[in-house]
Amino acid sequence: MIKVEGLTKRYARMAAVDNVSFEVAKGQIVGFLGPNGAGKTTTMRVLTCFLPATEGRAEVAGYDVTTQPMEVKRRIGYLPETPPLYPDMEVCEYLEFVGRLKGVPKSNLKQRLDEVAERCSIADVKTKLIGKLSKGYRQRVGLAQAIIHNPDVLILDEPTSGLDPKQIIETRDLIKSLAGDHTIILSTHILPEVEAVCERVIIINKGKVVATDTVDNLTHRLRGSEAVTVELTGAPGADDVQRKLELVSGVSRVVAKEGRGGMLKFEVESLQGRQIRPDLARAVVESGWQLHELHSAAFSLEEVFIELTSSQAAGGAQ
């Protein structure tokens, strides 16, 4: 449904999006994950024909964004980072305007309006001025605006930002309920959101795609390896310990950490699917050091995200 090939967008000299390629199948929900300034919004703006690409191609529902923007726009519902609202309009009036703008036939408009208001739970504020709504309600009106013409593709830029926890869950449920008929791309910085809503995730950093996989695979892959924190005393020096720990079978990496109160602290990562805690304990004790703590810090998606994005940053600096 969405196909992006070698997409590059440069602002002045800086590339905000650099040679990005991905595909989204019909009916899928894909999470676009990345830190601030990663290029999520820029990519979405190219997909919605708001910005032209510097290089590369993007296709939505089989139509090219540069050569057939009208066809693309007809099939896309877009919620920008800041919902595009007119504060001096009533909610109903606004949705009617957007509906007409997006080409909803007049005869159908009333019915669509009611459906959408129902779906986004804004029926009770229909006659209120948008300028007087709370942030959460504005976000919902923004979402209602994106789906009013029942588009094939939905592009949502941080749809849950600024909402309270209850609203976040409601909005996520709403988005999930929209999948199937609609193909959805949503951007976020929040990992649990991707886990909760999306089937696939595209991790992007500094304008480059660093990982793309199904959410299940990614969590599985990440949880497959283990991170263990070791704290000990009685060793002559941190370097000795590090060398010793690295020799333990199944260990892939040892990182020295700041320890408190004369404690030496290390973080040890295991190879895929290996249990290393017993061997680690034995190695420490056999060397005559005092083992104070040994616990597994199961790899969270969060850490891997930071890992992926910061190693990318280091790579980019070279």
Partner: protein
């Protein structure tokens, strides 16, 4: 076509949702009313004077009342333009709603025409208020209505040209005050330009005089429909809207 109307209607609603529209109309009603009254008073006085002196020359309502009022309205109208156009695009850029317009299945041209049309209608509504004083003339005189019609057509054309320029200026900034001040400056310049060129005889002066938007209204105010003036206004409108569309396009390339 219907997209243009959708956008135009939204803008019109926007004007009347704020007090600006009503303020402008009241202000204009007072000023135009004052001028109509003064012109009529002078007319009546002159009429009486000439009768007393026994000259009894037939005096023309159009020449003595309608024309001065039209000239004055055209100048006051100049200063309404910035208030009408300043928010058209600047506000959409500031609040990010421009992203809604440009990602909807409408062309830039439809957006521009819709907004410009709304500004012309708004300007027309303000002008309409000035008609009240003149229509009263029909109650006790027999002014010729054709020159008046042409005069108002001229006012609309002059307004339309400046509104097109104002629309363009509004796309250049996200601050509507800046847009308003810049448009005001241009209107002021055009007005002053008209004074200067009144005395110009050199070729350069004639060129400037030709470019003076106000100058071309002179004919309309006399009730003369000159195709040269008509073409001038239509080309300014075209040019202004063309610049607007270029600016909207470059806005995307830059931002």
């Amino acid at each position: 076509m219907s997209s243009i109307w959708v956008i135009c209607r939204k803008e019109l609603k926007g004007y009347f949702a704020s007090p600006i529209a009503y303020g402008l109309m009241v202000f204009f009603a007072v000023i135009a009313g004052y001028f109509s009254f003064m012109a009529t008073a002078i007319f009546v006085q002159r009429g009486m004077e000439s009768q007393m002196m026994g000259r009894g020359m037939p005096m023309d309502l159009n020449e003595w009342v309608i024309r001065p009022v039209l000239m004055n309205v055209s100048v006051i109208g100049l200063f309404m333009i910035p208030m009408i156009t300043m928010r058209l695009f600047a506000e959409e850029k500031r609040s990010g709603t421009i992203e809604l317009l440009t990602t909807s299945p409408v062309t830039d041209l439809q957006v521009i025409l819709g907004k410009w049309l709304a500004s012309v209608l708004m300007y027309g509504a303000v002008l309409g208020v000035s008609l009240i004083g003149l229509v009263a003339l029909f109650a006790w005189g027999k002014p010729d209505w054709k020159p008046m019609l042409i005069g108002y057509l001229g006012l609309l054309l002059q307004g339309g040209s400046l509104l097109a320029i104002g629309t363009f200026i509004s796309t250049c900034t996200r601050n509507q005050i800046v847009a308003g001040v810049a448009t005001f400056a241009i209107c002021l310049l055009l007005w002053v330009l008209d004074w200067v060129t009144a005395f110009a005889t050199s070729t350069g002066g004639k060129v400037i005089s030709y470019l003076s938007v106000v100058q071309h209204f002179e004919g309309f105010s006399k009730g003369v429909l000159d195709t040269k003036d008509l073409i001038f206004y239509l080309s300014v409108i075209f040019f202004g809207l063309f610049l607007t569309s270029r600016s909207m396009e470059s806005l995307r390339w830059r931002s």
